[in-house]
């Protein structure tokens, strides 16, 4: 059964038509306890079919442990979006509903090797980073405000080699969500310490990064 209808498939093809770099979508699944692992594999295959520049590779988290470690994947389903280099873009969960936009944004920025929206001041700050930044965005697939927050994280990650961005579908990972006390989305968590609620401007997120590195 195809998940993408013809209209959506056409839109995706258009959005991914001008990627300068190849994008590999590394999908990590597991054989048990993963409600959407089959769906995600099929979905990404359909996405890859729309563009010669996009390909998928499927790994089993329980078998391909070295590959999982290489891409810092510790749960499934997961997607590592890798362009000309690994910019640190990850999506945990099924990118359905509104989060499909986040997946497409991730593919676009990975394929361009550049942010789509990030302002000059944020870029200047990110260029000065000398420590790693672990930037998580918790989302739900029914949240219309979440894709721009996730896009911001991906834009920052593609801009700086020191920023790794994980978008986490909160419902699919209840323990992680509970550990992070996720009660509203989008929720940005920087270096596991600084929380920024909602889709915040880049200046606010840069300030949170600065606080987390003190």
């Amino acid at each position: 059964m195809a998940f993408l209808n013809d209209e959506t498939r056409g839109q995706v093809a258009e959005m991914l038509s001008d990627l300068p770099d190849q994008v590999r979508l590394l999908v990590f699944t597991k054989p048990a306890g993963c409600q959407y692992c089959d769906v995600i594999t099929e979905l990404l295959t359909e996405v890859a079919e729309t563009s010669a520049q996009v390909s998928t590779e499927v790994y089993d988290l329980t078998v391909d442990t070295e590959k999982a470690a290489e891409y810092r994947i510790d749960k499934a389903p997961a997607i590592a979006l890798v362009g000309a280099q690994d910019y640190g873009l990850r999506f945990f969960g099924l990118p359905s509903n509104y989060e499909f936009s986040t997946l497409l944004h991730g593919i676009q920025v990975a394929g361009h090797g550049a942010a789509a929206h990030l302002d000059a001041q944020s870029k200047e700050y990110l260029a000065t980073l000398d420590k790693e930044v672990f930037y998580q965005v918790f989302v739900t697939t029914s949240c219309p405000h979440c894709p721009p927050a996730a896009a911001m994280a991906y834009d920052m990650a593609v801009t700086s080699d020191l920023v790794n961005a994980e978008v986490v579908e909160a419902q699919e990972f209840p323990r992680l969500s509970s550990q992070n006390n996720v009660m509203g989305v989008p929720l940005n968590v920087i270096n596991r310490s600084e929380r920024v609620e909602g889709h915040a401007p880049s200046s606010q997120l840069v300030a949170a990064i600065k606080r987390s590195l003190r």
Partner: protein
């Protein structure tokens, strides 16, 4: 079973700084106007501080907008508006906030944003409204920690838990329906002695086995330290204070206009809504208003669409006479 939506288009900012019409706000009214004007070869820029769609995009299901007999999700409807405006050539820039509208002379206004200054012959203010806050203890402190204004976004996080919805009007009941899909119980607290919502919504929610209603009650405080644990409310008739345990509190007590940056520019009523005439003109020449931000306008997509269309027709006439 699964839906895959494409929103928040990846777009590069326009280099052009001169337009015939700048629409401030990319909700139903603004996008409708842009559909009309761009189709009419009026060079139109829509500036939206968030993603386009406005309040309607946060509405789970819109059932009373004509043309969709089964209803349509707010975001999907607004995406169609966005696509239609772009199809006719409107430039739409998301995540760019207007900070000032500066009338220079007849036929020239400057629009200042967080990123640039634009020049235009005409401005349409369609900034819409946003959910009103109660301003009670605990509301601000616990925002994002159980207090929410978006059931569509956060409802799934309260699966199997007890939830309170403050406000049993149209928005409260409509969004309550989505929360009922997840929560163990949903208690609606309404200030009025009755629900002001449409009867069809009342019938759906009041008959639901997981819903409970308190009418004529005022919520005094949202309680909790790190996260919401409940609410304290008062029976407005007896004065009795009651406590309800809950993990989540969703607030739907009406809307307030997004007009702070317009104070001192156009006439506003005492609640901050823009005063305008039947052709959408404000008190300042060259500046129109449309949609929820207009005084005495019910917050309905259909009405915003009508406003946007009327503003576009008035804009065409005005520009032709310049």
């Amino acid at each position: 079973m699964f839906d895959f939506k494409i929103s928040g288009k990846s777009q590069r900012k326009s280099e052009t700084k001169q337009y015939d019409l700048i629409v401030v706000g990319g909700g139903a009214a603004g996008l409708t106007c842009a559909i009309y004007t761009s189709r009419d070869s009026i060079k139109t820029l829509v500036l939206e501080k968030e993603a386009t769609g406005g309040l309607a995009a946060s509405t789970g299901l819109i059932e009373n907008y004509p043309g969709f007999p089964e209803g349509i999700s707010g975001l999907e409807l607004m995406e169609k508006f966005h696509q239609q405006a772009e199809r006719f050539g409107a430039t739409i820039q998301e995540f760019e906030e207007v900070t000032e509208v500066e009338p220079v002379r007849k036929g020239l206004l400057r629009v200042h944003t967080t990123e640039a200054v634009y020049e235009t012959k005409l401005v349409l203010l369609a900034t819409g409204s946003q959910p009103k806050q109660l301003n009670i203890p605990g509301e601000k402190e616990l925002a994002g920690r159980g207090v929410s204004y978006c059931a569509t976004c956060d409802g799934p996080l309260f699966s199997g838990q007890d939830v309170v919805i403050i406000g049993a009007g149209n928005s409260g009941l409509q969004e309550g329906l989505s929360v009922l899909n997840y929560a163990q119980s949903v208690t609606f607290v309404e200030f009025l002695p009755h629900s002001p919502a449409e009867k069809i919504l009342q019938d759906r929610v009041m008959g639901h086995e997981k819903s409970t209603f308190y009418f004529n009650h005022q919520v005094m405080e949202i309680q909790g330290d790190d996260q919401v644990t409940g609410v304290m409310m008062q029976d407005r008739e007896s004065g009795e204070i009651k406590k309800l345990a809950a993990s989540g509190v969703f607030i739907y007590v009406g809307y307030s206009p997004d007009t702070k940056f317009l104070q001192g520019l156009v006439d506003l009523n005492r609640w901050g809504y823009i005063e305008s005439d039947a052709e959408m003109w404000t008190s300042v020449e060259g500046i129109m208003a449309a949609g929820d931000v207009r005084a005495d306008n019910p917050a309905q997509v259909s009405i915003a669409v009508g406003d946007g269309a009327k503003a576009a027709l008035a804009a065409r006439e005005y520009l032709a006479a310049l």
